[in-house]
């Protein structure tokens, strides 16, 4: 057999003591493959290996056994016969006794025991034999760390998969395990140990079974690990490991109630420890153990538990004032970990037994505290500690009330009448039901009572929501708390409403306002089946809140809390749609808000009003549709006022409305799905507005007005979120309007005549100034085109392209965006005659190049291929039309980007053209073209054009918000940036070397900087060695001009990426002195703090390099950094200190 000779080779390689671990792995894999292919069967393998498995040389034997075991571990999915499994497992379990070769035996047992039934598994009796051999022969604690881990894994595997087989081992098993796990210290092994104990507990659940004898011993081992705490921290994932260990230990603690007599005293003792983390852990463990041990066992600890919870939460509360405290009237607290865990524990024990509730209610400290607090009426006096205590007491009592109906009854009986009394609220009489009675409704301002009252209401709400699903309404009515709530909720609500309506609100009663609003919110969000308030009161409370939102905009506190409450109430309606409340919410809240935005008085603090409208609308789709209707009306009114009359106020407002639309409303609809109607209606609405207002205000737009921009963004987003049909509808409508407005004629060509009349256009330079309306039309039209889907068909494409081309020549950037969107999405060839698509990509490109570049007759540079662009023609042409030169370059850049993204070959031509433009200056003095140029070229203009060409690389490489992104359905080939990067960089770097003129070189560096800073770091890393010198030159040249600081910053970020990535290290080491020199120069770059900071951070990163390379530079760096210590900016000084100490330690 061919397999056997090959396998002998591999066996020998493996057993050879000089083999590296990689080679060994390779031979294991090779043998496993042979077995999988059936070139070799397992019997043959064992026969071949016989010598290695039985030799007396223990090194060779252990390696032989390990090889066999590792091969088996690779064969988990290959079926094996029962006989082979039988003899193999017999062999391995016997070998467990061979301590010199035990690793192989353990791995082998593990591999065989882990097999699935379908591929042949070990029988129960064999598994038991393994377990017995394990218990008799293996001295786990005498093994090394890795072997211990393996043997624990083996035991875990036996316990998990063969539990029935080993159950009757009883004491032997338990004793063996105790011995094996005692004194274990390695974290990885401990996780396994904890899991073994958990499995053991599952194996012997019987309270009088074998485990009961060993519970104490086991827990003695286990308990010594609590709490998990690392004294020597090693690395970053310490926290994860600690977390994992702690969870495993927790499960082991709670695995059996038999541990209770030992674990609870330990945990309670740790609760009184001074280490906060130990306390937190103890609370956590007790909460979980409580659920597992059962209430009978826990009752005896009730008193002790309660006192420790009280100590942690109430006696010495550790809560900190939260950042939102301002918004909650000074009562916002963040509980620390300990308090949170203590509350969790409280909740657990409360749910188990009512005895805890009794304990809390009979607690003197809480009682006295509440009573004394209720007596003091002035909130101003209450110190921070008292407020923290109040917060804790409220939390404790509401946990009590929440836990069950019975304990809720008790809590209400003991405290509720007291609170109502303190607030001066008397129960509603059956006779007066549904109207606001002024006399009895104003309550006394008692902060403590009010706070607790609100907490109670919240607890009741939780309780009803919990019971709502499976309890009949009649059950509620019998409960004491329920009856009390019914009697008092009406008067309470009236009290809240009249307080909010009264003018006391003005005078700094923020905390009261917050509580009243919260009270209204809670009362209004009780489930439908349990309605503590009448519909009339519900309406009244909504009305109150709405009137706060609509009228009290300058009192920001009450405004925000009322809005929040309304949103909550709205969301609650959405959760349980009961028609009665939804309709009253709609008629009171939504209609009022709609009226607010559509009415004229929106002018003041409009952004807040729009915020309110959106927040309330977002609670439910039906509401949002109504709100949008209102928004549409408002937009129509203000838009035409701004557009026709130039009303400044309306201008600002319309901009704001449109922003709300594009930033909030449209994304909301996009998220909720369906409803294409809204964006279509919106887009058509804007076009209709434009159509209706024939005369536009002739005033040229002042710079402050951003109405056009806002409209365009909203239009783009709206069109972008439509389907193909909707988009076609919009584009057809806009195209018609464009035709009607004679837009095409004004641009210099007659309708239907597609051959361009560029000459006419060239004389017509007054596009921007005279016809403001045309700019609007074209810009909006461009926005529509930008957001079209690739499938959408467009009317009369040629005209459209001509229109955009001529607009680009006039410097209209949005048209360049639109044209690039077309180039990006059009199909390259039209298939079928009946196609709606009226134009193909090839045609468009021909048109573009035809108008951008004059066809040249001398053909000095053009090739024979018609697709190639005539470079000289371009130069002449662009240079002739002075005003259009840079516009053409920008247009070209966008077209290039579009082609690049769809992966079209012509992007290469555009790149070459741009490069040619970039080197205009350098070509002077070169060959015969000189004359042509100097004739037409304005000398001063050349540098500007070169710069423009260099910057066009930024356009090509960067992501744009305006167009050509996923939101506007651009065609994006993966990795297009990498492709551009790797094709352009070699050209640029060779040109840099060749170029003689300094101005050309600086432009080349500029283009290089743009390409590099937008390219993905991985692409740069692979070229790091070549790029670093150029990057450094780049930094040196760019730092001469202050205006280029953004570019420098981007390049510097690339450099820092190279420095911090391990793959870049080699290239960095080679250039260390140059890099450091350049960085030192930049630490003194006075124009930008960010650059200085990054440069210093880069220097810190450099200090990590091998000392031999950087030691010579130490003095230089330290000297220059000491200048940065005196930097005007504090952050720079801090970084400099860090850098200095990093370099100081190099020696």
């Amino acid at each position: 057999m061919g397999g056997s000779t090959e396998c002998v080779k591999h066996i020998e390689l493996y057993v050879n003591s000089s083999a590296t671990s990689l080679q060994q792995e390779a031979s294991v894999n090779a043998i496993a493959t042979l077995l999988k292919n059936d070139t070799l069967n397992i019997e043959t393998l064992v026969r071949e290996m016989e010598m290695y498995l039985t030799t007396t040389d223990h090194i060779i034997r252990s390696r032989g056994i390990l090889l066999l075991a590792e091969v088996l571990a690779k064969l988990t999915s290959k079926p094996l016969t029962d006989t082979s499994i039988h003899s193999l497992i017999g062999f391995f379990s016997e070998r467990l006794a061979d301590w010199k070769a035990s690793r192989g035996a353990i791995v082998g047992c593990l591999a065989l025991l882990g097999r699935k039934k379908e591929v042949g598994m070990v029988t129960d009796s064999e598994a038991k034999a393994v377990a017995l051999s394990y218990l008799q022969n293996l001295q786990v604690q005498a093994l090394g760390q890795h072997d211990r881990k393996l043997s624990f894994r083996l035991m875990e595997c036996i316990l998990d998969h063969y539990a029935c087989a080993i159950r009757d081992l009883g004491d032997v098993l338990l004793y063996g395990i105790c011995e094996a796990i005692d004194e274990e210290k390695d974290p990885d092994c401990l996780v396994l140990v904890f899991h073994i104990i958990e499995s053991l507990a599952k194996l012997y659940p019987d309270p009088s079974g074998p485990l009961s004898k060993f519970a104490q011993d086991l827990f003695e081992i286990l308990g010594s690990y609590f709490p998990i705490h690392f004294t020597h921290r090693k690395g970053e994932d310490d926290d994860n490991k600690r977390e994992e260990l702690s969870r495993a230990l927790l499960l082991a603690f709670a695995s059996t109630p038999l541990f209770e007599p030992f674990s609870m005293p330990l945990l309670l003792e740790k609760l009184s420890s001074s280490l906060p983390s130990a306390k937190v852990e103890s609370f956590r463990y007790i909460s979980y153990c409580t659920t597992q041990y059962g209430s009978d066992r826990m009752v005896k600890y009730a008193q002790a538990l309660w006192s420790s919870v009280k100590e942690a939460t109430f006696i010495s509360p550790q809560s900190t004032v939260s950042a939102e405290s301002e918004l909650t009237g000074g009562m916002g607290f963040l509980d620390n970990d300990m308090m949170t865990q203590a509350f969790v524990l409280l909740q657990e024990v409360m749910q188990q037994d009512i005895i805890f509730t009794n304990l809390v209610l009979s607690d003197k400290d809480i009682n006295i505290f509440v009573n004394s607090l209720i007596e003091s009426t002035d909130f101003g006096d209450i110190s921070l500690l008292l407020r923290q205590k109040l917060h804790a007491a409220g939390h404790i009592l509401s946990v009590c009330a929440k836990s069950s109906a019975a304990s809720c009854n008790k809590v209400f009986e003991s405290y509720f009448p007291l609170l109502m009394n303190a607030l001066g609220i008397s129960p509603a009489k059956p006779s007066q039901k549904s109207y606001l009675d002024d006399d009895c409704s104003v309550f006394k301002l008692n902060f403590g009572a009010l706070y607790l009252c609100i907490d109670f209401l919240g607890a009741c709400r939780c309780l009803t929501a919990f019971f709502d699903n499976f309890t009949l309404v009649s059950d509620f009515a019998n409960q004491t708390w329920c009856a009390m709530l019914h009697r008092f909720s009406g008067p309470l609500m009236k009290g809240f409403i009249s307080f909010l309506g009264s003018n006391i609100v003005d005078s700094g009663h923020n905390a009261f306002v917050y509580l009243c609003v919260k009270g209204l919110q809670t009362l209004s969000t009780f489930p439908e089946s349990f309605v503590p308030v009448s519909k009339h009161l519900y309406d009244c409370s909504l009305l109150m809140l709405v009137s706060i939102v609509t009228s009290e905009i300058n009192k920001t506190f009450s405004w925000t809390s009322a809005l929040k409450a309304l949103v909550e109430i709205g969301l609650f309606i959405d959760n349980c749609p009961d028609s009665g409340r939804a309709s009253s919410y709609k008629s009171t809240v939504v209609e009022k808000i709609v009226f607010l935005i559509s009415s004229g008085d929106i002018t003041s603090s409009s952004s807040l009003k729009l915020q309110a409208a959106y927040d309330i609308g977002a609670t439910r789709k039906e509401f949002m549709v109504r709100i949008v209707q209102g928004l549409d009306e408002a937009i129509a009114v203000h838009f035409s006022a701004a557009y026709e009359l130039g009303n400044l106020e309306s201008d600002k407002l319309a901009t704001e409305l449109l922003d709300t639309y594009s930033n909030k409303v449209l994304p909301w609809f996009l998220e909720t799905g369906d409803s294409e109607e809204i964006p279509i209606k919106f887009a058509l609405g804007i076009w209709a507005n434009i159509e209706n207002s024939r005369c536009i205000n002739p005033r040229p737009p002042d710079n402050a007005s951003n109405l056009l921009g806002a409209t365009m963004t909203a239009m783009k987003k709206a069109v972008g979120s439509c389907t193909v049909e909707g988009q076609e509808m919009i584009i057809n409508k806009s195209y018609e309007l464009l035709l009607e407005s004679n837009c095409f004629e004004s641009m210099g060509f007659q309708s239907d005549n597609c051959s361009s009349k560029l000459k006419g256009l060239q004389q017509n330079h007054n596009f921007g100034s005279s016809t403001y309306r045309y700019e609007w039309l074209i810009s909006l039209f461009a926005s529509v085109v930008i957001a079209l889907r690739p499938q959408a068909c467009i009317p009369n494409g040629k005209m459209m392209v001509q229109l955009f081309i001529s607009a680009i020549l006039n410097g209209h950037v949005s048209s360049a965006h639109a044209l690039s969107a077309l180039v990006n999405k059009l199909p390259s060839k039209i298939t079928g005659i009946n196609s709606f698509r009226s134009i193909s990509l090839e045609e468009v490109l021909d048109m573009i190049f035809g108008s951008f570049f004059r066809t040249s007759s001398n053909g000095s540079m053009s090739g024979n291929d018609g697709h190639e662009i005539d470079l000289s023609g371009l130069k002449l042409d662009t240079l002739r039309i002075q005003s259009a030169k840079s516009n053409v370059v920008i247009g070209l850049a966008w077209i290039g980007k579009a082609l690049l993204m769809r992966g079209h070959v012509k992007v290469k031509d555009i790149t070459m053209t741009l490069l040619g433009l970039l080197m205009l200056d350098g070509n002077i003095g070169d060959s015969n073209q000189l004359q042509e140029w100097t004739e037409v070229c304005d000398e001063e203009y050349v540098p500007q054009l070169m710069k423009c060409a260099a910057d066009s690389f930024h356009i090509i490489m960067s992501d744009s918000e305006e167009c050509l992104n996923r939101r506007y359905h651009a065609v994006i080939r993966p990795l297009y940036k990498q492709r551009f990067f790797s094709s352009v960089i070699p050209i640029l770097s060779s040109l840099v070397v060749k170029s003689e003129s300094s101005s050309v070189r600086s432009m080349l560096y500029r283009a290089f900087a743009h390409v590099v800073s937008d390219a993905p770091l991985t692409a740069i890393l692979s070229e790091a060695k070549k790029l670093i010198p150029i990057l450094l030159d780049c930094l040196a040249i760019l730092s001469m001009d202050v205006l280029d600081k953004d570019i420098i910053y981007n390049v510097l970020l690339v450099v820092s990426g190279l420095l911090t990535d391990r793959n870049g290290e080699e290239a960095v080491i080679g250039n260390a002195p140059r890099i450091i020199n350049q960085l030192i120069d930049l630490t003194a770059y006075s124009q930008s703090m960010a650059i200085r900071e990054t440069a210093i951070q880069c220097l810190v990163a450099m200090s990590e390099l091998p000392h031999t390379r950087i030691y010579p530079l130490k003095t230089q760096v330290l000297q220059s950094i000491s200048k940065a210590l005196d930097d005007p900016k504090r952050i720079i000084r801090q970084e400099a200190v860090r850098c200095r100490s990093a370099w100081y330690v190099i020696s």
């Binding site: 000491s1122 210590l1125 005007p1128 801090q1134 200190v1137």
Partner: protein
């Protein structure tokens, strides 16, 4: 050296909150931020006590108020309070402060370091020792002392 610790059980206080970084964007690029009290305090607060694993801030050896800065005159004066009166570590602490500030402040600064009046048995001697250029230089020639100082100044990465 004395057997055992000089102050075996020092009181540990809470740390103050650190200065939050101003988010970029609303920073005036050219505004000058002079070196102030808190900045100096930030430099020295994390120096480890030579005896205990606590920082000088936690032991209240240094407080923000005990630092006087005059950025225009390039002058700093730090007054520190040893935890016990007979603390023989006072000179080491003072040396740590001086070395730390030598590394953190621009060279134009003059640094004065002194023990708070009435908090140390040999106040005058310690003050003299700490502000004597040559004695400081000599101390820094001593490898044992330098090792001790470097250990105290090692960053704690909290």
């Amino acid at each position: 050296m004395v057997d055992g610790l000089i102050n075996a059980n020092p009181t540990v206080y809470e740390k103050k909150e650190r200065r939050a970084r101003i988010p970029p964007g609303d920073v005036d690029e050219y505004a000058v931020e002079p070196i102030d009290q808190q900045e100096i305090f930030d430099h020295v607060r994390d120096i480890k006590d030579p005896e205990h694993p606590y920082s000088l801030e936690e032991l209240k050896v240094i407080t923000e108020d005990a630092i006087e800065v005059d950025d225009k005159q390039s002058h700093v004066r730090i007054t520190f309070t040893p935890t016990v009166e007979h603390c023989s570590m006072a000179t080491v602490i003072g040396l740590c402060l001086r070395v730390k500030l030598m590394r953190c402040l621009p060279p134009r600064y003059k640094v004065d370091i002194r023990v708070a009046p009435g908090t140390h048995a040999t106040e005058a001697a310690v003050n003299k020792q700490l502000n004597d250029k040559e004695r400081v230089a000599a101390a820094l020639e001593n490898p044992n002392l330098v090792e001790m100082v470097d250990e105290c100044l090692a960053p704690s990465y909290e």
